[in-house]
Symmetry: C2
Subunit: 190 residues, 2 copies
Amino acid sequence: MKTPTRKEEIIKSAAKLFLERGYSAVTMRDLAKELGIKAASLYNHISSKHEILESLIISVAEEFTVGMNQIFLSELSTLEKVEQVIHLHIDVTVKNQDALGSLNNDWMHLEGKALPYFEQMRNQYEENFRQIIKTGIAEGSIAARDPEILLFSVLSTLRTLYLWYPKKNSIDMQTLKADMTATMLASIRA
Amino acid sequence: MKTPTRKEEIIKSAAKLFLERGYSAVTMRDLAKELGIKAASLYNHISSKHEILESLIISVAEEFTVGMNQIFLSELSTLEKVEQVIHLHIDVTVKNQDALGSLNNDWMHLEGKALPYFEQMRNQYEENFRQIIKTGIAEGSIAARDPEILLFSVLSTLRTLYLWYPKKNSIDMQTLKADMTATMLASIRA
DNA sequence: ATACAAAACTAACGTTTGTTAGTTAAATCT
DNA sequence: AGATTTAACTAACAAACGTTAGTTTTGTAT
């Protein structure tokens, strides 16, 4: 647990506010007030509001991408791969709770190269997941329903976890993983 | 198909832009440009930006509330109730595609009485759904897992449908309802 | 005590924001 | 045709926006 730099503290506070109100509705003065300083002081540590959004979203997106690629290229069975994806999602979400708000709702406000870069990661991620599901259907381990519906059904739940997890921290990590995995596997299993 | 009033056209355009960029990121000048007029002209038809958001969100929320109450109070079996809720969600989503963006992401920007009113409807909706699920678990028709996880899993998928449906309009309504219902019932069934 | 770096401050900038006031053009009704 | 309604316009406002420049305070190391 190294002590965070001031920049990291700013980004963390920003993530929290972005989650509550959305990127566009949070002003630099709001963010400054949250930290007990003036808006201009923020610029000793960060170069723009956009930089904050970018560093929030891109780092988490890369974490998802790396994890998914690893699973996709592994030698696991199809259902084991799905299970790993679920665990990946839970882990990344729990570790980056607030940032996931921006990733899900404010990615369209990314600027410059960051936007296509993000979109490409996101598409790649979905495509990998789609392939896993299609393979499962072909080999009979996953139900023969429309693959888009199966994909979107699982992905929706995973992507919305950030909204629910913080409110139900009575649930321990063990139960969360076990019950979520059971529920989602049941939804797609043949 | 009655011809829409100018006000309705404005609200419809607003819904589309709010969906794409979020309420706070859309300016009255953006909205005016979309309609081919000047920003000031909007105020001949609407009284404020907030009014637009409010009418978008509240009307759809009420539609959900009415539908859910009807199902909740019906004599159907638990699983039939869940099925009806799924159908309700699909119907309302397809009919109000764009407005669902605001409902899901911008409800916190509601002002005055509209905010607590919305929150109350939303809580009531979730509570009704929770009761249905708990009853199902008690009577053995629904899997004995954490009810919060079952609830959030199904609700997440339903609430995110507005993001997927427009992109996959190759899928016909018949298949959509059938496959979604099958998938989600499988996820919670005992 | 002095020097240096980190992090705050005040003041201000040019834009953009939602909105109002007052006026004009087009469409509909009598 | 004249009157009325509908819906557009131009011009402008005060407030809030992200950001810059220059300065002062605070904490740490010599």
